[in-house]
Symmetry: C2
Subunit: 342 residues, 2 copies
């Protein structure tokens, strides 16, 4: 395991100055073709590779783009990650992902690391940092795109969706189909996203004169098990029946799966006895029994959108592309009752 060859070795081998070698590997301007060939040949022969650290040290910047997310386990992140990666790597950037695991300290730590490493830009999904903190980081000069959050004073660099509107839409769909007693199953309300969805549900109910029928249940967590447990308890306590609930409006597909399971276990059929809606359209949503009516994100398109936005923030160019739209996917988990219209 001998020492790695460096730029000086190449220079010596090629019989030129280090400056020339550097120029060959960089701006390329103003270097004689035959000299450049000589350098490339020499570099190739001794297996030269530029030392990224020396380069970064002197240039004070890199071609790295980082993504800080909360948890890898969040299912739809994966396609979003891929989307971002495909865009930024095509633009010549190197893409790295790391996670905060919902810890504010880790968030700060990882962002600091990205800063210390002079990343060209970072995409962050943060729950711990305050709006001010995010704006501060950006003010220090780091190009940031914030996903799934609407940061005050930084809106133009946030990729945020109208969860309120979409949850309102799918709730309205239930109402239009004749449902009035609709249970809203919410994930933990600590996250802005969940709060917005909850507000969307409430807005739909109120708009249709069903303010008094609002029933919200906040689950611990937001997985299959949370949905199952919440509905099981409501059924067991008799609250479900006493409230005359005919539909469950869930904030994500996992909650919906759990809810459906609890309903079936209680002998209720879907959608004949109870209708269910999801949010997210995970692949399984099309393959459950019944298949789930839900709201589809195009995760991959969203990822690409984030990637493009990141590039525009780095280049300080305007970015006016429109956010990929959502779409309600009608499947078989909704029943059209009495006066309902489709």
């Amino acid at each position: 395991m001998q020492k790695k060859p460096n730029l000086l070795d190449v220079a010596e081998k090629a019989g030129v100055s280090p400056a020339t070698v550097s120029r060959v590997f960089n701006n390329n301007s103003k270097v004689n073709e035959q000299m450049r060939q000589k350098v490339l040949k020499a570099a190739n022969e001794i297996g030269y590779k530029t030392n990224i650290y020396a380069k970064a040290l002197i240039e004070g910047k890199t071609n790295f783009i980082g993504l800080l997310l909360t948890r890898f386990e969040i299912r739809h992140y994966s396609s979003i990650i891929s989307g971002i990666e495909s865009v930024v790597s095509k633009a010549g950037y190197r893409f790295f992902v790391t996670s905060s695991r919902y810890s504010k300290e880790k968030e700060m730590e990882k962002i600091n690391l990205f800063e210390d490493l002079n990343f060209a830009g970072i995409v962050i999904i943060s729950v711990g940092l305050s709006d001010e903190e995010i704006v501060d980081i950006s003010r220090k000069g780091m190009p940031i795109v914030v996903f799934d959050r609407n940061v005050k004073g930084y809106q133009d660099k946030c990729v945020y969706f109208d969860y309120h509107g979409y949850q309102k839409d799918i709730t309205s769909l239930l109402i239009r189909n004749g449902h009035e007693r609709i249970l809203h199953l919410s994930g933990t309300t600590e996250l802005q996203v969940y709060r917005e969805k909850c507000n969307g549900y409430e807005a739909a109910m109120e708009e249709h004169g069903l303010a008094d029928d609002k029933t919200v249940r906040v689950c611990k967590g937001a997985g299959n098990d949370s949905g199952y447990e919440a509905v099981r308890q409501l059924l067991e306590s008799g609250e479900f029946v006493s409230k005359g609930i005919t539909a469950i409006n869930c904030q994500n597909d996992q909650l919906a799966f759990g809810a459906m399971c609890a309903l079936k276990e209680a002998g209720l059929s879907i959608p004949e006895d109870v209708s269910v809606t999801g949010f997210g359209d995970v692949p399984e949503a099309a393959y459950t029994t019944p298949s789930l009516t839900t709201v589809r994100f195009n995760h991959s398109a969203i990822g690409k959108y984030i990637g493009k936005k990141m590039l525009s923030v780095i280049k300080k160019e305007p970015f006016d592309e429109v956010v990929p739209p959502f779409e309600i996917i009608g499947r078989n988990s909704i029943k059209y009752i009495n006066g309902g219209v489709q």
Copy 2:
């Protein structure tokens, strides 16, 4: 946006030499307590942070550990990633993830990048690289742990599971319960993992004298849709009935979900008409109707195991911890027919 303070600025501010400042932030040996306080105070006041690149340049190594995976979309990777991260970050390493998207060129490129960045170690999930190539990379001095693959000449640094054995086990479970005509639903056979599972199924059949009843169907892909499509076609063509199939043994849970959906659509009930088994135990497996009998990995434990192995490879210490075991999770998708025993 003024220049970042560097070590010299701290030295000047504290009225000491740069060497002393460096010593304060590093080995700490042999530096007078009151001088160290002076340095720390000065550093704090001017907001000094060591430049990672300068440090890495001179030290020739980093405290970064990287993970190269194939696709972020592969579902069980997320918990594994988290497991690795929790272990290595606790040990003081920084953890970065990147993906190859199944391209051999990208795999090579990313590994080269990790090498160029003097990562302390890398975990790779590779499908493109040959065994020799992997061994070569390791020979160059980079500590590598290979996941989900058994690299010849590098076995002790591979984290590999007995997929063959586990698939054989769950197939045997079906056989012991009286099933003889068992369809094996395989993902794309390009991946070693899938081939091994297929061999496991075949071994179980042969061992029980059912060699002639072997029926393997290789799907395009390995998702819900692939399983659905494969079973739908078999049902439509009549092959399913003509072969008298009473159970479907799937290589993963997604295939199983798809298969169940196709069966139900054809009016067959599970497990009364057809039994189904999965592999993986994704969260939904407990919440489908019926719930799915499958093989559970403890992804998080596996991740931690990989992380610990990575650390041991870096430190060149022996590592003899045993691989986290799998477990068959019996749920309601299997019927015990005629002579079957549980």
